[in-house]
Subunit: 358 residues, 2 copies
C-alpha cells in the first residue's frame, strides 16, 4: 500500500474519523441537541455518507458551491452558514427550489435585495456576533435585530428559524477555562436575545458551532442545535487546545523524503505550502512550525508524532523537517513521512479534498 | 464581463504579464544569459505559450508532475529544480526518454540509487547552497562536490551540466543593498567552485534563480543562466522588496462583498485562506495583512491598492477587509473587490492555476 505512494498524498484514517463522528453524534443525542455538522472541513461526498450512517440528515456548509455539491449527493436539509452572496442569487434560488435550504442574514441590505429578488420558500437564521468579531449583528444590538425581523416579515416565503453564532474566538483560546468562558458567554448572549423574541417566535432555535466548545464542554443548556465541523478530522491546532488527542487526528499528509542535511539535522520532504497550507502554530520558543511528523506502518497508519521533530519551514513544494538527532539517523531518502496538519480544513482544501482512505 | 463574476475568481492581466515576461527576456538577452524561467508560479499551458512567443525554449519546474504537464504541452527542454524524488523514478525515466531532461543532484545517496536504477541519457546540475540553507551542498564543501562528480562518472548516460543555486534568502531581505549583497555573495561562491572544476569540465554552467536578484540586479558576470519564476506575476511580497511596482502585479483575486460592519469599518468578502493562501506580510505596526484591495473597471482591470485598506484576517472562506473610513462608505454589498495577493505562486496554486484572462 505504502510503496505505491510516490508524491504528496492525503491519508484519511477511517476508523479515527468514524470515532470522531460517533463521539459527537453521541454527545448531541445525550444532550438532546439537533446535530447539524459543518461539512466544510471534509467537503467529501464519501465522508458525508459516513455521517448519514449515524442518522445525520441536516448539515451546514460555508458556500453555495458546497451546498450544490452536497445537494447533488443526496443531502436535502442544508444551511449555508455564510453571509448571503447576492451575486449567487440564481444558484441560491435553484437550491431553495430543490432542497430545504437555510441561509444566514445579518444585514438590512441583504433583506432589501431579497425582497426585490424573492427566493422560493426558505428559512433563515439571524447571525449573532457574540464577541468573535468576524460577521454577525452584535449580540447587544437589539435594535438591528428587531429591524431585520420586522423587515423579514415582508419578504414572502422567508421564515425565521432562530439565532446562530460561531464562537471562532475559542480557536485562539489558551486554556480550557478560557474556552468555557467564551462558550458560556455566547450562550448567555443568545439566551438574552431569545428572551426578548421568544414570545413573538415561540419556536425559535439557538444554534452554536465551534469545535472547541462542542468537543470540550458538557453543558449546552438553552441551546437547540450544534454545528461543529473540524472535529471530523481534528488537527494540531485542536490538539494544542486540548480539544483532541494526537491519536484522534484522522488526516496525515504522506510526503517522500528527498534530501538530508546532517550538519543541521534537517530533512527535506516533497510536501510544501501548496499541500499543507501555510497555517502554523508557535512552539515553546515562539517559533512557528507547520506540522508534526510521524511514520507509517505497512497498512498506511501512523503513530503519534516523533519527539522533537517538526516542520520548521515550508516553501511551495519543499518542507524542511527539523529532527531530533536520533530520529534523523533513522530516516532515509526515499522514505515516506506522515505529516500531521496544523489546520485540517486548509490542508484538505489544498489537497482538493481528495483522500486516500486507510 | 465583471457582472458575470459571482464567486472568487483569479484575474490575470495579460498585458501586465506580457510586460513582465518581455522585460526579463530583454534583460537576459542584454546580458547574454540563457533564460530558463521557472514555471512553478503559473503552472499554466497558456501562460507558458506566451513565453514561447518570446523565443523561450528552456524551462524550469519544481516537480515531476509539473514536468509531465509541460512536456505534454510541447516543452522539450525541462529542468526539474527539486531534489530527485526517488519514489517517482519510473516517471522520471519516461520523461528522460521523451524530452531533454535535467535533474538536480545534491547527495551521494541519490547517485547510488541512480546507479542501480539508470535513467535514459539525462543531464544534471549540482545544487549548491550559497547561504539560503534549504537544500544543496554547502558552497564551501568541495569534498562532497568532488565525491559526487566522481561518482556521477560511473552512472551511464548521466551528464554534468553545471552548478546551480537558488538564493531564496533574498525574499526576506529588507533592502536592495541586502539583496545585492546576497546576489554577489552567491556569484562569488559559484565562481570559486567553478574555478576548481572548470579545467575538468570546461563547459560547465553557473545558474541562479531568484526573482529579487534577477529583477533588481544589473550585474550577472560569470553567470550563464537565470531561472526566475515569480516575476511573471509578481506580488505584494515583491512590491515590498522593491522588486516590482504595484502596477506590475498581474494577478488579482475577484471577491464579492458579502457584509459590512460600520462600527469597525470592516467589510467581509467571499474569499479566504483556501483562495488566497495564508501567506502574509507585516505592516508598519507589526501586524499581519493578507492582501491589499483595489476595485475593478468594467473590463476587469484594477487600479493600484486603495489607501489604508487591507485584508486583516482570513478564515477558510471569509476575508475581513479593514477599510479607510471614506473607502468603507463607497463599497456596497454585492460589489466585487480586487485583492492583490501576498504571494502569487501560492494564490495561483490555491486557485488551481485557473485564470480569467483580461
Amino acid at each position: 500500500m505504502i510503496h505505491q505512494i510516490i508524491s504528496p498524498t492525503l491519508f484519511l484514517d477511517k476508523e479515527k474519523c468514524l470515532n470522531n463522528i460517533r463521539q459527537m453524534v453521541d454527545k448531541a443525542r445525550r444532550h438532546k441537541k439537533v446535530f447539524r455538522p459543518h461539512f466544510k472541513t471534509h467537503r467529501s461526498a464519501e465522508v458525508g455518507s459516513w455521517f448519514r450512517e449515524f442518522g445525520v440528515e441536516k448539515i451546514t456548509v460555508s458556500s453555495v458551491s458546497m451546498a450544490e455539491h452536497f445537494a447533488n449527493n443526496g443531502w436535502r436539509d442544508i444551511l449555508i452558514a455564510f453571509p448571503v452572496n447576492v451575486r449567487e442569487i440564481e444558484k441560491i434560488k435553484q437550491l431553495a427550489a430543490k432542497i430545504k435550504l437555510y441561509i444566514l442574514i445579518e444585514s438590512v441590505e441583504v433583506l432589501d435585495f431579497l425582497k426585490k429578488n424573492p427566493l422560493p420558500p426558505c428559512g433563515f437564521y439571524l447571525k449573532i456576533d457574540c464577541g468573535y468579531g468576524r460577521t454577525g449583528i452584535a449580540a447587544s444590538d437589539f435594535l438591528t435585530i428587531d429591524e431585520i425581523l420586522l423587515k423579514a416579515k415582508s419578504v414572502p416565503g422567508f421564515n425565521f428559524v432562530g439565532f446562530l453564532t460561531h464562537s471562532g474566538n475559542t480557536y485562539t483560546a489558551r486554556s480550557k477555562d478560557e474556552i468555557a468562558d467564551l462558550h458560556y458567554e455566547s450562550i448567555r448572549f443568545l439566551q438574552e436575545i431569545k428572551k426578548k423574541f421568544v414570545l413573538e417566535y415561540p419556536d425559535l432555535l439557538l444554534s452554536i458551532g465551534d469545535t472547541p466548545s462542542c468537543s470540550l464542554m458538557d453543558n449546552f443548556e438553552g441551546i437547540d442545535e450544534i454545528r461543529p465541523g473540524n472535529f471530523v478530522f481534528y488537527d494540531l491546532m485542536q490538539a494544542q487546545l486540548g480539544t483532541c488527542q494526537y491519536a484522534d487526528i484522522a488526516l496525515a499528509l504522506a510526503c517522500p523524503v528527498v534530501a538530508k542535511h546532517p550538519a543541521r539535522k534537517e530533512i527535506v520532504i516533497y510536501g510544501g505550502g501548496i499541500h499543507l497550507s501555510k497555517d502554523f502554530l508557535l512552539n515553546e520558543n515562539g517559533l512557528p512550525y507547520f506540522g508534526l511528523v510521524s511514520t507509517f506502518d505497512a497498512r498506511g497508519q501512523w503513530s503519534n508524532p516523533l519527539k522533537n521533530t517538526y516542520i520548521s519551514r515550508l516553501s511551495q513544494e519543499h518542507g524542511t523537517v527539523k529532527c531530533d538527532p536520533e530520529i534523523f539517523d533513522s530516516i532515509n531518502i526515499g522514505d515516506l513521512l506522515a505529516v500531521l496538519p496544523i489546520h485540517s480544513c486548509l490542508t484538505a482544501s489544498a489537497m482538493q479534498n481528495r483522500f486516500r482512505i486507510v
